[in-house]
Symmetry: C2
Subunit: 334 residues, 2 copies
């Protein structure tokens, strides 16, 4: 009965298809290297609203609507909405779910939320729990910055090893029928903490968690990095993905040219985002644009998508605690 392979990985027996998807991003992301993959680029950071929190919510609601539209569904067909965001108490998705009026499960995995929602959604569909499930997450630079770091008005200098929170949203519609990329395996991560305490250095805090999940997946499935067309982490950024490469080398699973990081890809050097993008919207928007497009085009046939999240809050950081992190992985096939 159990679908478990090895220690942390599960094999989906039934069809789990990504039948629809949408990504919405802000103007900075829309001016970066991935701009041709972003169908929806919003020029107004405030989305015509009176607060950044309301803007973030509007962006999420629009993205769910756009994902539903991409596969010709209305929200009435949805059995379930799964997702979260970076704001305290997940208010972006809570208020979006209120306006959608569909059964809802709120989850929190920080920047790992996209793969966490895809993991839960695909296991529930595979188990016979519904026909259509929407998975969504995202972030907004201006809400995250003032909640996690400093008020925007403070105008602080950024550390060279810091990342830039992506203003962006991604939504995938999963179904047990239809056409599109398939989710075939799921690895749920363990919380990993190697003692990093600097909240500007998210890449270093999250790399060990990414290593833990990726190594578990290779061991569980008895495969190696070279068996996949694309291995893509969430938002380790340049520094974090370099650390992951070092760690995987030590684990005897060296990552080659097929490994990239969403955070590393989303901004160019000229955009002054230092180590690259971060935030739940980073992997969510890259997955629901570039990755799905390339799978559909046949460029990638077997993809490991692993979003990574840092699980601290400001209170515990100020109490001197280190930063725990997690990474969840889904395998997506053409």
């Amino acid at each position: 009965m159990s679908k478990k392979i090895g220690s942390q990985t599960y094999k989906l027996n039934n069809n789990v298809v990504i039948i629809g998807n949408a990504a919405t991003v802000g103007s900075k992301e829309g001016a970066g290297p991935l701009k041709k993959y972003f169908k929806y680029i919003e020029s107004d950071d405030l989305m015509g609203e009176t607060s950044f929190e309301k803007a973030e919510r509007k962006m999420m609601e629009l993205t769910i609507e756009r994902a539903l539209k991409s596969c010709g569904l209305t929200e009435k067909k949805l059995d379930l909405l799964i997702g979260g965001d970076l704001l305290n108490q997940l208010v972006t998705i809570n208020y979006s779910a209120r306006d959608l009026s569909v059964p809802f499960l709120g989850i929190y995995g920080a920047c790992s939320t996209m793969s966490e929602s895809l993991a839960i959604g695909s296991m529930l569909l595979d188990g016979g729990y519904g026909d259509y499930i929407a998975c969504v997450t995202g972030s907004h630079f201006s809400t995250a910055e003032r909640q996690y770091r400093n008020p925007l008005e403070f105008g602080n200098q950024r550390q060279t090893y810091s990342q830039w929170t992506v203003t962006g949203m991604g939504c995938s519609i999963l179904s047990n029928q239809g056409n599109g990329p398939h989710i075939t395996k799921v690895t749920m991560g363990k919380v990993t903490d190697w003692g990093v305490k600097d909240i500007a250095n998210m890449g270093a805090a999250m790399a060990p968690a990414a290593m833990s999940t990726l190594t578990a997946f290779f061991k569980d499935t008895k495969t190696r990095p070279e068996d996949y067309d694309l291995i893509i982490s969430g938002d380790l950024g340049k520094l974090g993905s370099d650390i992951l490469k070092d760690l995987m080398q030590k684990e005897k699973y060296p990552l080659g040219q097929n490994y990239v990081d969403c955070g590393h890809m989303i901004y160019s050097n000229e955009q002054k985002a230092f180590q690259g993008g971060s935030g739940a919207g980073c992997s969510a928007s890259v997955f629901n644009s570039y990755i799905i497009t390339k799978i559909k085009e046949g460029v990638f046939k077997k993809v490991l998508f692993m979003a990574t999240g840092a699980l601290m809050n400001t209170t515990l950081n100020q109490q001197g605690e280190s930063i725990p992190a997690i990474a969840h992985l889904v395998m997506v096939e053409r």
Copy 2:
């Protein structure tokens, strides 16, 4: 293939058994009407730690350990830990999960987290995803009060319609084999918001969500309140559960003597908790003590356990938003 009944309810086809459980509470809860059901009462609010946040985490870790012990398991046997808490970014469970080192899914449903975790955990087990899953949540008066309302040192007067955040934790261990109460049906709630803006009046904010989920369950299963031995809501408190009774009357599903509320039960009038208990720890500790004990004793054979959660945060409340709420339901049978 689909296990859906009606619009929001799912029937579990396989064995999903609550094989172990534990509840830990603070001294105020341990002095209340349910004291004889609480096996673990902690006299020190700080649990010997240097901050309330660390105390909350220690209480959660101990409760997971106690639940595992109650069924003779070690954490190594766990396929998954599911849960959340009320602190920003779920730091109580994130740090607990770090120390346990098992695959982990963080969820957030505010005070509905106990039934949300039981719902996800039982669907995953039923679908063949693992053999042992731990579901946990809880809250601490002193961390919640300073995060959501006022610093303790402020010494504010409490409104007569307010509730008292329970210092308590509850953990259930689910398995696809063994003895214990069974989870047989699950109803996932929709976010409901009737416009309440007063963050002291959680009962009024959450009652419409409870009505929505309970009515959906009765319609989906073609049953009525009198078909169950116990219908128990999470933490509506006295006022909120009176509102729910009114609303259910209007929906033509009047609730009788078999309906009670965890928040209403946990404190006596003399304990000055006004409308009763609230917080994720309220329903979690009552479910994992009183309810499971009474099911095992045969007093209750068919129970509807529905935890309720208010999904706002302080920022959006200060921006003038109303309070969205949700309720998830699990049916537990002897």
